[in-house]
């Protein structure tokens, strides 16, 4: 005997199971129309594969599964498809959904079925496909496609298969009747499912102890099949208590394990299937029979006959009720499912679907309308009854307050809506209704949040992209501006070097550029020194502060602070070193060092024989050509728009190389001595520029800082004047560049005043420095 675990909570409502078990399972006549909803299961709705007006046979697939979590729909009898349209379906909200309407021809002509004598000869995938093709879904009520459950992910190690024959809801006896009548098929189905799950260690059939006949039948069927290969199957009985038949509860009762919140049983190695599902799966594999009918309990005092029927899917409930002597006058409500978890139907026109395990038509006395709710007295009976160990009264309280955060904190999502709390509530509060409303609100809020999160992300990405583009543009603009300024400076230098004339030519340019560079660098050292001095003083003060704090601090903080002191010290040293180094170079910088190097570089270039120079040119051009070709190839492969431009670039480079080569050839052919004796006019100009630059640099080196500044001021004034003239001219011509000229002039003015100020301060600073 295996250990049976207890579950917390639970209730013992009147069972009311006898009235429907007095007669054997019956068949009822075919209705005039069968209505087959395309969504009788959990997951995506099926898709019609037959057209209106087509004749279909019993068991023929009329709508195909769409996607993985879906199930096909089959014709429940032979006949004609007369419509594919929206019809009221069995749903608590009374909504409509796409249904296939079938007019039976009364012949019930089956399609050809593919039986299978020995399923062990099929591989797992074939079996799963057979179950899937038969449209088998969980018949216990949830309607989850069985094939999906029988094909668990590889990382789930399934060690337990549970067949759920608990049927804890009052009134419902469909599984009970099935087990009594077809125990052999249920057992065979159980073995099939176990086989499909690689024969788990334990295969358990859970039945509440209020079904002695079913238990006996199942045990007899098991004994008859003794010696069957595969896992041993065990019938487990346990005390009757609602809701033991809930999947999570049954797993807890039989294994002591709990399905972790928001996970599925496969996570803990368990697969749970309903007895009806097991039988249907077996028939699907053994006989190739699709799911076209199910056993449904038809019960309630408003009926003359109460029994279980084998109902064809799609049979309108009104037709079923009519066949059982329904007295509409006595009936207060129609419930699909049991009295604890079933839902009321808005109309009797809805069809029986795969998940319809019970139709309850109670009289008004049997299930009286609920009395008005009283105030919650916090009696705690609901918490006593809750099988999930929730605090229903807190959930109720926060549901009323619409405090969804608190509801989640109190694990509302773990509520299985069994209704035990509402059943015991002495104040008749419809607790489950509150929970359902809150749950759906939370679900809606989550979807909305997800949506808004996504759009926010999109927006932020968009913003980032815009900002990046802006920054790139800005950088380009700055680069252009810088280049323009440099060019301007170069021009000014060249003018200064060439006595205001444009004598420099191409060879003179590098010299003036080098001079310009040297000049800009010469202004910088003073600023840099000031910066470094500031850095040293701030590092000093930081060190002092750190030391002070270290002295004041307690023991436990001292270590940390000492580290900080060390760090400050290191920084100070670093800053001092930098300053010292700078002072060294700064003195050197006063001498025309950069200028000299630039001159030297230019001279070196000049000194190269022209042939050498040309060869160098060719080499660099060839290098450029190679990279250009590479780029072109890449662009071609990528099919980029720049191919053409690149092509012209390559062509240009080629012609340039050719020209340079020609020049080199010329040079080598004729003018070797010429080169040695007579430098070109250009190089003459360059040497002149070099001489001038040298003189200037020498003059500068001799100048005192004061003089330097004076000369700077002079040149600045000169430049300013020129700039003003240019500006005026531009204004007169109404030039587009007026603004640019104005800013240039303004800048020059500012620079001039700055230099003048420096000049005024100069004697003072020199005094203090000495």
């Amino acid at each position: 005997m295996r250990k049976i675990w207890g579950i917390p909570g639970g209730i013992h409502p009147p069972e009311n199971k006898d009235q429907s078990l007095q007669q054997p399972i019956a068949e009822i006549a075919l209705p005039e129309l069968l209505v087959l909803p395309l969504s009788q299961h959990m997951g995506t709705a099926a898709e019609p594969i037959v057209a209106v007006g087509e004749r279909v046979l019993t068991g023929q697939e009329i709508a195909a599964a769409k996607g993985l979590v879906s199930a096909p729909v089959h014709a429940s009898t032979s006949g004609e498809i007369v419509a594919i349209e929206e019809r009221a379906i069995a749903h608590p909200s009374g909504m409509t959904d796409l249904c296939m309407v079938l007019r039976p021809d009364g012949r019930d002509q089956w399609i050809e079925l593919h039986a299978c004598e020995d399923y062990t000869r099929l591989d797992h995938q074939q079996l799963v496909e057979k179950v899937r093709a038969a449209g088998i879904v969980g018949l216990g009520g949830a309607g989850f496609p069985t094939a999906v459950k029988l094909n668990p992910r590889a990382n789930y190690d399934i060690d337990t298969l549970i067949i759920n024959g608990t049927e804890c809801e009052p009134y419902i006896t469909a599984d009970d009747a099935l087990m009594q009548a077809h125990a052999d098929e249920v057992v065979a189905g159980t073995r099939l499912l176990a086989h499909m799950l690689d024969n788990p260690q334990q295969v358990l059939i859970g039945i509440e102890d209020n079904k002695p006949k079913a238990i006996a039948a199942m045990e007899a069927a098991l004994a008859a099949g003794e010696g069957h290969p595969g896992s041993a199957v065990e019938v487990c009985t346990f005390p009757t208590k609602y809701p033991s038949g809930g999947e999570k509860q049954l797993i807890q009762i039989l294994t002591g394990r709990e399905v972790p919140s928001e996970q599925i049983p496969a996570n803990i190695g368990v697969v749970c299937q309903n007895t009806g599902t097991a039988q249907a799966a077996w028939r699907a594999v053994r006989f190739g029979e699709p799911l076209i009918a199910r056993i449904t309990t038809v019960v309630g005092e408003a009926l003359q006959t109460q029994r279980n029927i084998r109902a064809r899917l799609g049979t309108p409930i009104a037709h079923v009720l009519a066949a059982h002597g329904f007295d509409a006058e006595r009936c207060s409500r129609l419930v699909m499912g049991g009295p604890m978890m079933g839902f009321t139907l808005p109309t009797a026109d809805v069809p029986i679907v795969k998940t319809t395990n019970c139709i309850l038509a109670p009289s008004r006395e049997e299930l009286p309308p609920p009395p008005p709710a009283q105030a919650c007295i916090r009696c705690g009976m609901c918490a006593e009854a809750c099988p999930a160990s929730l605090l229903p009264q807190q959930l109720f309280w926060y549901s009323q307050a619409q405090d969804y955060e608190k509801l989640q904190a109190y694990n509302l999502s773990d509520c299985i809506e069994c209704g035990a709390c509402a059943y015991v509530c002495p104040s008749n509060i419809p607790l489950v209704q509150y929970y359902r409303a809150s749950k759906s609100t939370i679900r809606r809020m989550e979807t909305e949040k997800e949506k808004s999160d996504r759009s926010r992300q999109r927006f932020e990405f968009h913003k980032q992209r815009i900002a990046r583009e802006e920054a790139e543009k800005e950088a380009k603009r700055a680069a252009r501006k810088k280049a323009a300024e440099q060019a301007k400076q170069k021009l000014a230098q060249a003018r200064a070097a060439g006595g205001g004339e444009r004598t420099g030519g191409s060879q003179a340019d590098p010299v003036s550029a080098a001079m310009a560079r040297a000049q800009t660098r010469q202004v910088a050292p003073q600023q840099q020194q000031a910066k470094l001095e500031r850095a040293v003083s701030s590092a000093e003060s930081r060190l002092q502060r750190a030391r002070q704090r270290c002295d004041e601090a307690g023991d436990e903080q001292r270590d940390k602070l000492q580290a900080r002191v060390k760090e400050a010290q290191a920084r100070l040293d670093d800053a001092r070193q930098k300053l010292a180094a700078h002072e060294g170079t700064g003195q050197a910088a006063d001498k025309p060092d950069p200028v000299a190097t630039a001159i030297a570089r230019a001279q070196a270039k000049m000194a190269l024989p022209p042939a050498e120079r040309l060869r160098n040119n060719i080499a660099s051009l060839q290098k450029r050509l190679a990279t250009a070709r590479q780029k072109l190839d890449q662009a071609r492969q990528a099919g980029s728009d720049t191919v053409e431009a690149l092509q012209t670039g390559v062509a240009k480079l080629e012609t340039k190389i050719a020209a340079t080569r020609a020049e080199l050839d010329d040079l080598q052919a004729g003018a070797v001595p010429e080169h040695a004796q007579a430098p070109s006019a250009d190089s003459e100009a360059a040497t002149a520029a070099i001489e001038k630059a040298k003189a200037r640099a020498a003059a500068r080196a001799d100048m005192s800082p004061e003089e330097k500044l004076r000369s700077q001021i002079e040149s600045l004034q000169d430049r300013l004047q020129k700039a003003r003239l240019r500006l005026e001219k531009a204004r007169a011509d109404n030039d587009d560049n007026t603004d640019a000229f104005r800013t240039a002039a303004e800048k020059l003015e500012a620079k001039l005043t700055q230099t003048q100020q420096q000049l005024q301060q100069q004697p003072v600073t020199t005094d203090t420095s000495h």
């Binding site: 409502p13 709990e258 972790p260 509409a328 006058e329 207060s332 409500r333 105030a375 007295i377 999930a388």
Partner: protein, 352 residues
């Protein structure tokens, strides 16, 4: 015929709040019989008067709040408050004490806080404490039990009782110190001397004449309610165990400073009435079972502390009110472990 459209469950257990309250009233009968037998008809008169006052107040408030009067009267909660208050008040106390305490309990402690289900404090205990603090003289005069009466005296008859209640004609000799009073005022005698000399103990068996039977009566009533699953065992058992433990720890063998034996504490004063009828009031106690254990045990400890070292001989009302304060706090930290979760979570934890 339109079909009813309501959500599940469609069936409901028999019984409602009114039935629960009726069961509670039924369960007070053994205790009330004991009270009436040992102390005369005073308690019964209290109960009747308090019940009528409670219902009248409830009806008046409901009328003011424009609610259906009968719907709320029918939940019997007001009557239960009246009955419990009547059982707590001293027999033969003046009528206005009953009226003031009941009125305060219903109007202020219950309805000003939002009515049934919303009151943070036990209404009966609030009413009791209000008159205890306001009218200490009247509230500390408890009738002498039948078995401890001086020779030649008998219990008050119904007529003289009514006279005392309505005309406030004090009749000397009919009041006596309760066992807890005796211990409170004792500072020189050993416990065994007290048991020998004080009439209330001399005439009693374990914990004072009359009182022990009254407490046993409420214990029987409480056991009945437990059997009927009106409430769970957690709070009462925790309270009684805690009180017993405290009394055992501080009994010290019966010196002159002893707090009294565990049996004395269990069977005197309002112990059993409190354990089974007051702290089990669902509205004002903790909700989870663990919470109820903490709630009950804390009350047990507080009762002993106030009885032994406080200013009042009995302490049920104060202890209960103090813990009513703490009930929401206890609830915060005693959320049970939900199915599928590794550990219980605090209600302050907002993770999804």
């Amino acid at each position: 015929m339109p079909l009813l459209r309501i959500t599940s469950p469609h069936t409901h257990s028999p019984g409602n709040t009114g039935d629960v309250m009726q069961q509670v009233m039924l369960a007070t009968i053994p205790g009330l019989i004991a009270l009436s037998y040992f102390f005369g008809p005073g308690s019964l008169m209290n109960v009747v008067m308090a019940s009528f006052t409670a219902v009248a107040c409830e009806a008046a408030v409901m009328k003011l709040r424009r609610r259906p009067v009968m719907f709320y009267i029918n939940d019997y909660s007001a009557v239960v408050t009246g009955v419990l208050l009547g059982l707590s008040l001293p027999p033969y106390c003046p009528w206005w004490i009953v009226a003031v305490s009941t009125g305060f309990a219903i109007v202020v402690a219950k309805h000003l806080y939002g009515g049934m289900g919303f009151n943070p404090f036990n209404p009966a205990m609030v009413g009791y404490v209000v008159v205890l603090i306001s009218f200490p003289v009247e509230m500390t005069q408890w009738a002498a039990p039948r078995t401890a009466l001086p020779d030649g005296q008998s219990l008050l008859g119904p007529l003289s009782a009514l006279q005392q209640i309505w005309l406030d004609t004090g009749i000397d000799g009919h009041t006596a110190a309760t066992p807890l009073d005796v211990f409170k005022q004792n500072d020189s005698q050993l416990v065994q001397h007290l048991y020998a000399t004080e009439p209330v103990f001399a005439a009693g068996r374990w914990a004072g004449a009359g009182w022990e039977w009254v407490n046993l009566g409420f214990l029987i009533g409480g056991a009945y309610l437990l059997y009927r699953r009106i409430f769970t065992w957690h709070a009462p058992v925790a309270m009684l165990v805690a009180l017993t433990l405290m009394a055992t720890i501080f009994y010290d063998g019966g010196s002159s400073t002893s707090g009294g034996s565990p049996l004395l504490h269990l069977l005197s004063g309002g112990t059993m009435l409190g354990a089974f009828f007051i702290i089990t009031d669902p509205v004002t106690s903790a909700t989870s079972n663990r919470g109820k254990l903490i709630f009950g045990a804390s009350i047990g400890v507080l009762i002993y502390i106030i009885r032994s070292w406080g200013n009042y001989p009995d302490a049920v009302a104060f202890a209960v009110l103090l813990m009513n304060f703490a009930a929401p706090f206890i609830d915060y930290y005693t959320v049970p472990r939900t199915y599928g979760h590794d550990k219980p979570r605090r209600a302050t934890d907002n993770r999804p």
